[in-house]
Amino acid sequence: MSGGVDLFDLAQKEREEQATYRRTVLCCGSTACLSGGAQATQDAIRDAVAEKGLEQDVRLVATGCMGLCSRGPLVKVRTRGEDDVLYADVDADAGRRIAEQHLTAGQPVEDKALSLEHPFFARQVRVVLENMGEIDPNRIEDYIAHGGYRALRDAVNTMTPAGVIDVVQRSGLRGRGGGGYPAGSKWKLLNEAKSDQKTIIANGDEGDPGAYMDRTVMEDDPHRVLEGMAIAAYATGAVKGYIYVRAEYPVAVRRLEQAIRQAKRHKLLGKNLFDTDFSFDVEIRIGAGAFVCGEETALMASIMGQRGTPVLRPPYPTERGLWGQPSMINNVETLANVPTIMRRGADWFASIGTDSSRGTKVFALAGKLDNTGLIEVPMGITLREIIEEIGGGVAGGKAFKAAQTGGPSGGCIPLKHIDTPMDYDSLLALGSIMGSGGLIVMDEDVAMPEVARFFMRFCMDESCGKCLPCRAGTYEMHELLDALVTGRGTAATLARLETLCEVVRTNSLCGLGQTAPNPVLSTLHYFRPEYEALLVPDGAHLAGLPGAHAAAAADRASASANTSERSA
């Protein structure tokens, strides 16, 4: 009996089972909607359906994220032979009304309906998120019925590892964790490494403030991550996979654990998959909440039970990784692209996006916008299109000031570059980075030095303390930024800050320290007058403090101010 036949049977059975219902109610059950009361909505709909005796007619599914988190809880009603109807802001009352009017009488509840032609949805291209809002993340059957694990089966049964790598290389897929290293090239490096103990690691240690792309993929489509890992393992000869998830994502951990159990039960993970000699197993490792553990050498140290601090590269993980054996680390989103690429082909994937950045990117769109949430857009879309069309423009009619990409390692993009295409190289040229996908939009009321101070505070708290430039430098830079923001900074403070940016950027051991000055450098580059407006004359910051020294300094400051007035 071949695993492939099983898979088809299972998919067929699931589809037939689903087809017996006339209506399907897809309730967003992802973390954002749940915190907005989605559980009460689901319960209300379920109760009303039971009350009306519609259980044979209506299938209720708690799905993954539908994207428009600012309008949650979201509910989608799908009726055989009709267009889908999406409802936003569905509280328990609205849920009951939907059940009574739409599910019972076939009358959509117009005042809660949201057009699917809405640019928030219409402008998106879904590859990684294709199953979001469609499947129940708790059921492997639903994933398989939507084409899941077919790419793995076909790869293992009909392709050579080199063939798989070739597809990934031709697709142009680049690492989605921020660096943008070509995924196919990395796979090739591991494939060429000589060892029978190779490992692959899915990096789910997403830690940028405001970012939740990887969390959503792990929570709401966990099998996609497993399938991507298994394909990568087949292509590279890895025998073991680790998913590194931060402890702050308990739902992701639970869903992944469940998905691994289900996949093992259906012989999609484990020994001799699809009756071949390909074996692959996956384990979860839970991080203890250190941002630096997203850095690959620190992540590996953490997996091995060591203190999560980075070590010098080279050697790179593909030469010397976990327990001295070759390892490869891919971001969760990178791996989540793989099943779709294998299913739909390298050419299809490469046709999306720009020449140097193929495919799509998932962003966690946050900040001062009307529509915020999780979006997936083709690479090369402009920031303006994201903000004005998908995001619905800056909230409250305020003016756009800047967008921050790449979190604490990134930079800001000011109004004059709003028409920049969002791809790896264009963002780098602007002094920002693609990063893992955090995108925070700021309006005219936001003070950029305070933004820089916020991110520096983050880096200071998250510095692992191993190398001096990052450990001491982030602290001192935060002190200087704090002095500037609170009106204690002089021209010398600003000069010192710029020196430190250079010292920390140049000398830090790992990416965290090397990129920690980016928010400062970027805001200084585009909004320098804001910093200069904060400067006070030398010594003036001591005015008003107790003690003769302070008073004397204040006198000196006012004396020098008088002098300059006279001379002017």
């Binding site: 303390g465 191993k466 001096l468 450990r471 001491a472 020196t499």
Partner: protein, 241 residues
Amino acid sequence: MAGVNLKIDGVEIEAPAGENLMQAAVRAGVRVPGLCQLDGLSVVGACRMCMVEIAGTPRPRPACATPVGESMDVHTDTPRLREHRRVLLEMLFAEGQHICAACVASGACELQNLAAELGVDHVNFTPPPTRLEMDLSHPRFGYDPSRCVLCTRCVRACAEVEGAFTWGVAGRGRETHLVADLGVPWGEAESCTSCGKCVSACPVGALFEKGTSVGERRVPRALVSTLTARRERESHREVLK
């Protein structure tokens, strides 16, 4: 062993492959400042004092952790490197409370020597207002966290040479500090053999012998290096037998 030809500060030298730039610099008669590196211990490249510029490489690299390469053109003392080292050293001073006039290691202190070497005669950053509590629970030794530069030489000497694994690092960022065993007072650490290798490896006065006062540090810093070199020699002799 095959030799590698390279240039350090304009001096052409030949160095054995596998040697790092810090060792190779000695052949060229060049001293590269360093703090976390100690012969005989593994390399961590954490203090970033030994950063050097290599022509064609965008970023400076730590000399202690960069192997020699054919035709490398290395510069160890450019104005940029000097400036960066001075700023780094100033920040290191401002992290703790380094008061030479009251320190056991004064006169035999690598931090003090570095300050003299790099011309750091004042610190532009504000050190913390209070001293951290000393750990004087060990019968023979003491630990003053306010003097610690977090080079982790003690941690490596304890693990790699003595094999006791008593010292470890805990905390993050500015809160990073040494811990004995799982965070117990040093005197209660069951794994500690009281061998004193950590004290001898300490570049400053953070780990010290009790009963020594200002400028009285006696333990030889080369102890760890001597031990490891001797072990290596002896193990070769075993093989030859």
